[in-house]
Assembly symmetry: C2
Homo-oligomer: 197 residues x 2
Amino acid sequence: MSDTIEIPPRSGDAFRMRSGDSLTVIDPCGRQVADLLAFNAEDLGEVISSGRTLDYAETIRLTTGHRLYSNRSRVMLDIVEDTVGMHDFLLTPCSVDTFDHFYPDLPRHRGCFGNLAAALEPHGVQPDRIPVAFNCFMNVPVDGETGRLQVLPPLSGPGDHIRFVARMDLVIGLTACSAPASNGGSFKPIRYRVDRA
Amino acid sequence: MSDTIEIPPRSGDAFRMRSGDSLTVIDPCGRQVADLLAFNAEDLGEVISSGRTLDYAETIRLTTGHRLYSNRSRVMLDIVEDTVGMHDFLLTPCSVDTFDHFYPDLPRHRGCFGNLAAALEPHGVQPDRIPVAFNCFMNVPVDGETGRLQVLPPLSGPGDHIRFVARMDLVIGLTACSAPASNGGSFKPIRYRVDRA
């Protein structure tokens, strides 16, 4: 069993995984979101793709048994365990611009986008390559009649987690989300653990 | 009034627009999909973003009055007219891989992805930069309870159209979609017209 690492509130991290490694993302306090990105470690042009994944899964509600695909239609990660069952794969990471849009009265923050860009920069990932993230624990219900979407507090409680297995060598970006609406109005850490194959 | 251009069935085109130009995408026969991509003509790293757009719009049902944003949170296109009201912004363009997945018994086809990659190549766009497209007339209802999504025949009839105004200089990619399910099982042309500002 490897060490569990804590991502402090409103910050991010990046790390490598080998094919077969397992990544567990843990919400230690409950009602906290973690934006997850994945890039092919050998060729950064290959990146996690919401559009490919939702097309193949035929659902926006991804959980145990679903596979996360790249823009080249190859499996990057399998979801092998999930104690929550509600995650978002529609929205891009919050940023300075989304803070200006949704929270004009709050202090500006670089958000998950800025945290991911900073954490991924040493791995060679350019900010413009950051796509829609797989937002662990983010609760974004869609009204089937009107199409309206809402960002509600996560359904996760303390200790809830989701576990992925890498299906190629990956660079992973991961955050403890910075947007008030995503986390029920408070900022908390995220923990993760990589178990080597 | 400029000329109307026809995109033959199962093919694609790419062209430039200046800020202020208007683009009308027309379904001449009805029940046909047109995948639309947009890149900043001056800096191809800036690209249309489903995640930013859905976040700001707070709906997956985009129509007249909605704005299509880039990955840098800037407005690329405004929707100024829409006779259908049902378009998709969740799924990536169909490709050889999606044909293998959904239609293993049909002849392979490079799909909208291959058509867009070929049409955009002379403009300097790399295939890996093709994100979720704004899929004009594509009918992808989402079940709000289960999250299940379906690809149903478009609601568009002959002559239905959607009109956009460019808010920056753009490279546009546009297709007449190649996937049976998207078009009610038949392949038809798409027409478009660019009216200069």
